[in-house]
């Protein structure tokens, strides 16, 4: 049986669409664990990133932390987390929790870096204007800097979300649920239909995540800053020097 028919047969088998091991439940598990870890990563990284961008303090530390986080192999983070998570919960600590830790660790850097560079790159004239109008620091952050920087901030969240969806598949190697189950079980059982069906589902979810946050990013561009929008185009800082020359 060739790959295409095997995949079609697997995907259209009614057994795949019901029960705990069915596609809908695996998709739900995947989205659920991804959402939880994205929420945790946002809580950790977003306030810190905004504060660093606004005050300019701690940028170097955050940059090296983010670079460290980005360098870590995800599988290694999962392995390292296991002894700690097992202490927290003997059952989940060996399966879902270490993957969750890895997902958070890998999602923090892009959110943090984009939040602070986005805020830091907001045209200083805008910030000074706000200050001159008597706005408080918090009002400047939420009323000026955040709206202008929102597309950049969301860009970081987009990278993080895609990264999280990918890392969630690895959870299946460690006995977790999610769409990765079809890949891991399919490879173990040499079931090409299941492997390829799983590949299509995982790829579709990843691309859907990318597209969804991308749309949000487009919508988030403040009307006053859109090219061809009404009023003068302000707030778009000139591109930063790339080569440092």
């Amino acid at each position: 049986m060739n790959l295409v028919t095997a995949t079609a047969v697997w995907l259209t088998d009614p057994a795949q669409w019901a029960g705990q091991a069915g596609i809908p439940n695996r998709l739900l598990e995947h989205v659920l664990i991804a959402s939880i870890s994205l929420a945790i990563a946002l809580l950790l990284a977003l306030p810190a990133g905004l504060a660093i961008g606004h005050t300019g303090r701690g940028a170097a530390v955050a940059a090296s932390l983010a670079n460290l986080g980005r360098s870590l192999p995800s599988l290694a983070v999962i392995a390292i987390a296991i002894p700690v998570t097992v202490l927290v919960d003997p059952v989940l600590g060996g399966t879902v929790l270490p993957t969750l830790v890895a997902m958070v660790v890998l999602a923090v850097p892009p959110i943090l870096v984009n939040a602070y560079t986005g805020i830091a790159e907001v045209d200083r004239d805008l910030v000074e204007a706000g200050r001159g109008m008597g706005m408080r620091e918090r009002e400047i952050l939420t009323g000026i800097e955040l709206p202008v920087a929102l597309p950049v901030v969301l860009g970081g969240i987009r990278s993080a979300a895609v990264q999280i969806v990918a890392t969630a598949t690895l959870g299946a190697i460690f006995g977790g649920g999610g769409l990765g189950r079809f890949l891991v079980d399919g490879i173990a059982q040499r079931d090409d239909g299941q492997v390829f069906g799983g590949v299509l589902l995982v790829a579709a979810l990843a691309i859907a995540t990318e597209v969804a946050v991308g749309l949000l990013q487009r919508l988030a561009r403040s009307p006053g800053l859109r090219r061809g929008g009404r009023g003068p185009v302000v707030g778009i800082a000139p591109p930063p020097p790339v080569l440092g020359m």
Binding site: S71, P73, A79, G155, V195, G198
Partner: protein, 220 residues
């Protein structure tokens, strides 16, 4: 907690897996760089080709690595090709983007000066544009290398024959969370990634002695 006996008995295996890890990663980055270089030069000359190349690479980059490895098993079997093709594909996104950005970053006056000095297009590319793009190219190689070292660990899901240090993580897990073995894979793989990062930071400094190295953040 640490099984020293296991470690002492597996030093050869750890050395072998480390070498395999470096080999798989280096091969992926080298092939990826060769392909990216050609693609970037084509894209830099024919601008209309860049958006489709970039979009296609972006879609590939979005697909989780485990899915790409799994997909290839059905096509190329449990061979080294199955391990390398996804590694190469992921490097393309980072490298093409950075090489094109490096070429784009060359100031117009510099190009005009080169033209004025009678450079042909080929001479201008090799003697002026590429040397000036080197810092961004090295920054791209840094990101590509570090991420490839991470991805090599996942090649262990294809077969025990691959995975580099990731083999120990997976094997230790299958032995019922045998932590000594899992850490024997996890810690050296992290050190490899950080070591490669440091190496490229040095290289970046060396190729931009006139400025503190500035890496292009690969964010969108």
């Amino acid at each position: 907690m640490i099984d020293w006996g296991w470690l002492a008995g597996h030093l050869d295996a750890i050395a072998y897996r480390t070498a395999q890890h470096v080999y798989l990663a280096a091969l992926g980055v080298a092939i990826g760089f060769a392909i990216s270089f050609v693609l970037a030069l084509v894209a830099a000359r024919h601008r209309a080709l860049y958006p489709p190349i970039s979009a296609l690479a972006g879609i590939l980059y979005t697909i989780p690595s485990l899915a790409l490895f799994a997909a290839l098993i059905s096509i190329t079997g449990f061979s080294v090709v199955t391990a390398e093709v996804p590694l190469v594909m992921y490097t393309l996104v980072i490298l093409v983007r950075n090489i094109v950005a490096g070429l784009d970053g060359v100031p117009g006056e510099v190009l005009e000066a080169a033209d004025g000095m009678g450079h042909t297009r080929r001479q201008r590319l090799w003697r002026v544009e590429l040397p000036l793009a080197v810092p961004l190219i090295v920054a791209g190689l840094r990101l590509a290398t570090v991420s490839t070292i991470g991805l090599v660990t996942i090649t262990g899901t294809i077969s025990d024959a691959f995975g580099g240090l990731g083999y120990f993580i997976l094997d230790g897990y299958h032995r019922g969370n045998f932590l000594t073995e899992m850490y024997a894979g996890a810690l050296p793989s992290i050190l490899l990634a950080l070591g490669a990062d440091l190496l490229f930071v040095r290289a970046q400094r060396r190729v931009t002695p006139w400025a503190h190295a500035r890496a292009l953040e690969a964010t969108s």
